[in-house]
Amino acid sequence: MTDLSMPSDTPEPVEKTHNQWWDVWDQFRSHKGAMAGLIFLAFITLFCAIGPWLWDVDPGKLDIRNKDVRPIYVAIWDGEAKTSWARPMGTDHLGRDIMSNIMQGGRISLAVGWTAMILAILIGTFVGVISGYFKRLDWALMRFTDLVLSLPILPLLLVMMLLFRDPLRAAFGPETGIFILIVAGIGITSWMQTARIVRGDVMALKEREFVLAARSIGTPPRRMITRHILPNVLSPIMVSATLGLATAIITESALSFLGLGFPSDFPTWGKILFDSVDRMTAFPERVLWPGLAISLTVLAVNYIGDGLRDALDPRIRGL
C-alpha cells in the first residue's frame, strides 16, 4: 500500500546491459540493402534446401516427350508455345525439369561457396594471427603470402581442376571427389586478403594495455590468442567472410562455365548456364534463371557485407 503513495523519486530501473551483438544487429537492421540481401539469401537458401522436398521431381530424370517446354509465363504473350503447369520453369532439351535442376544446382553452388569460404577464412585467420603475434614468423609468412598473391589464380585453378580431377574422382567417387577438389582449390587460393587484414589488426591489438595486462599475469600464447586476440579481430574476419562467400560462388560458377567443374549430369548454377548457352537463341530463359540465381545471390551477399561493415564499425554505430 505504501508503494502507491511513494513519490516518484525511486531510482530509475538500471538499464538492461546490452549484448554488443544486439547493437550490431540494430545497426545492421537500419541498412536497407543489407536487410534485403539477408532476406534474399535466406529465401534462396530455403528454396534450395527445402525446395526439393516440396517440388518432388528428380532433376536428372529424362522425359523426352516433354522436352523443350517453355516456362509458364511464355503463355502470356505466346499462346502457341509449349507450356505446362507441371513444368513451371520449363524443361531442357532432354526433358529434365529446370526448376528442380536450379534447386539441386543451388544446393551444390551454395555448399561449395560456404565450405570454400570457411576453409579460406580458417587458413587466412591462422596465417594472419600467427604472423601478427609471433614476430619471428612474420617475415617468412608475409613473404609467402605475397608470393601466393602474385600467382595467377584463375589459370592455376583451371590447371588444378584438369590435372587432379581423375585421381580424386577415383578415390572419393565422382561427386565428392570434384567437390573436395573445387573447395580445396578455391580455399587455398583465396585466403591471402584475410591473412593480411587479420595480421594488421593483431599487430595493433598486441600493443594495447589489456594484452599487456593479460601477459603480465602469465597468460600463455595459446590462451592469449583464443581468449583475447581472436574475439577482437572477429569483425574484420566476418566482413571478409562475406566477400569470400561472394567470390567463392562466382569462382565455382566460372569453373563450371569453362567446362572444368562438376560432371555434366551433376548440375550447379554455373554448369546449367554453360549447358544452356548453345540453345540460348531459342530458349533464353534457360540462361536467365541460373544466371539470375548466381548474380542475385552474390549481390545479396555483397550487400550483407556492406551492412555488416557499417554495423561492426563502432564509429558509425555511434558508440
Binding site: G33, D146, L147, S150, L151, P152, I153, L154, P155, L156, L158, V159, M160, L162, L163, F164, R165, D166, P167, A246, I250, S253, A254, F257, L258, G259, L260, G270, L273, F274, V277, M280, T281, P284, V287, L288, G291, L292, I294, S295, L296, V298, L299, N302, Y303, D306
Partner: protein, 335 residues
C-alpha cells in the same frame, strides 16, 4: 628511388623463379598425363617413344632449368634475331607446344593482338567511365547520382562476366539483332564500313569487361575523393576564393588520383583473368581461349608459358604500382 627500383627489380627475379617452380611442379606432380588422351591401341613401347619425343624422358631437375633457359635466354635471342637480323640463337631449341609442334611464342604472338585489343580497350573505357562517376559521386555524396553509382558498382561486382556477356548477347544479338554475337578476328579495317563493323563487334566484349573495371575503380575514386574533400587544404583553397571547379578538379582531384593510379595498375592482371571467360563467351580467339584449348589438350609447355606470362604481368604491375606511388606522392620515401 632508383636504388629502391633496382632492389625491387632484383627481388622480383627470385619471386618469378619461385612462381615458375610452383607452376612447373604443379604440372609435374599432377597425375594427369599428356599421353592419356591417346588411343589405347598404341603399344606401350611406341607410347614410351612418343613420351621421349615430347621431351618428357628427363627428370624434372633437368627439365625445369631447361625451361627457364629457354624462356629467359633462348626466346629473347630469337626475338632479337627476328628484329635485327642477327643470329644469337643459332638454332637453339625453343619452347615447343605439344599440340601444334610449333614454337609456343609464335602461337602466343598470333593471339596477343586480339586479346590486347579487347582487354586494353575495355580497361581504357572502364577507367574513363569510372573516374567521372567517382568524382561526381563523392562531390555529391548521398545524392541520387551517388546512390545510383553505388548500385551500379554493386551490380558490377556481383554479375559475373559469363552471365552479363550471355545476357547482352541475348538482348542485342538475338532479340534486337543489332550486334554480332561472335567476334570475328579475321575482319580487317580498311574503310568506314569495316571500321563500323569492328566497333559493333567490339562493343559487347569491351563493355562487359569494362563493367567490372568501372565498378572497382569508381569505388576507389569516390573513397579517395571523399578523404581529400574533408581536408584543411580544401577549405584554404575555398577561402582564397578559388572557383569550385578549380578546387575540385585541380586541388582535390590531383591528390585523390594517387591511390587510384596504383589501383588502376594493380587491376591490369586481373582483367586478363576476366578476359579468359569473356573470350570464351564471345568466341574471341585470344590468349584466354588458347589457354583453355591448351589445358584441354594437356599441352603442358603452352599452359606453363601462358600462366607464367600472367605471373610476370602481376609481379611487374605490383612493382609499377609501388614505384608510381613513390613518384606521385613525395611524402612517401622508400629509401
Amino acid at each position: 628511388m632508383l636504388t629502391y627500383t633496382i632492389r625491387r627489380l632484383l627481388l622480383s627475379i627470385p619471386t618469378l623463379i619461385f612462381i615458375a617452380f610452383v607452376i612447373f611442379m604443379l604440372l609435374e606432380l599432377a597425375p594427369g598425363d599428356p599421353m592419356s588422351q591417346m588411343p589405347l591401341t598404341i603399344p606401350p613401347e611406341v607410347k614410351e617413344k612418343m613420351r621421349l619425343a615430347l621431351g618428357l624422358g628427363e627428370p624434372w631437375w633437368v627439365r625445369f632449368p631447361l625451361w627457364l633457359k629457354q624462356f629467359f635466354i633462348v626466346e629473347p635471342q630469337y626475338w632479337i634475331d627476328s628484329a635485327f637480323g642477327t643470329n644469337f640463337a643459332d638454332g637453339a631449341q625453343r619452347i615447343i607446344s605439344f599440340q601444334s609442334r610449333s614454337p609456343v611464342f609464335d602461337t602466343i604472338a598470333e593471339r596477343i593482338p586480339q586479346t590486347l585489343w579487347v582487354v586494353g580497350m575495355s580497361y581504357v573505357v572502364g577507367v574513363a567511365i569510372a573516374l567521372p562517376i567517382g568524382i561526381i559521386s563523392a562531390y555529391k555524396q548521398y545524392s541520387v547520382f551517388d546512390q545510383a553509382g553505388t548500385f551500379v558498382s554493386m551490380i558490377g561486382f556481383s554479375v559475373p562476366p559469363f552471365f552479363s556477356g550471355v545476357l547482352v548477347i541475348v538482348i542485342f544479338s538475338v532479340n534486337l539483332g543489332w550486334l554480332p554475337s561472335i567476334y570475328d578476328t579475321t575482319h580487317e579495317v580498311v574503310d568506314w564500313d569495316t571500321f563500323k563493323f569492328q566497333m559493333q563487334q567490339m562493343i559487347m566484349p569491351v563493355m562487359v569487361l569494362a563493367l567490372q573495371t568501372t565498378a572497382q575503380v569508381s569505388r576507389y575514386m569516390r573513397a579517395s575523393m571523399l578523404d581529400n574533400l574533408g581536408q584543411d587544404y580544401v577549405r584554404t583553397a575555398r577561402a582564397k576564393g578559388m572557383t569550385e571547379s578549380v578546387v575540385v578538379m585541380r586541388h582535390v582531384l590531383r591528390n585523390s588520383m594517387i591511390p587510384v593510379v596504383t589501383v588502376i595498375a594493380l587491376g591490369i592482371p586481373s582483367i586478363f583473368g576476366g578476359a579468359i571467360i569473356t573470350e570464351q563467351v564471345f568466341k574471341v580467339n585470344g590468349l584466354g581461349q588458347l589457354l583453355i584449348i591448351a589445358l584441354q589438350g594437356s599441352d603442358i609447355p603452352m599452359v606453363m608459358t601462358i600462366t607464367f606470362l600472367l605471373a610476370v604481368l602481376i609481379v611487374l604491375m605490383n612493382l609499377i604500382a609501388d614505384i608510381l606511388y613513390g613518384v606521385l606522392d613525395p611524402r612517401i620515401r622508400y629509401d
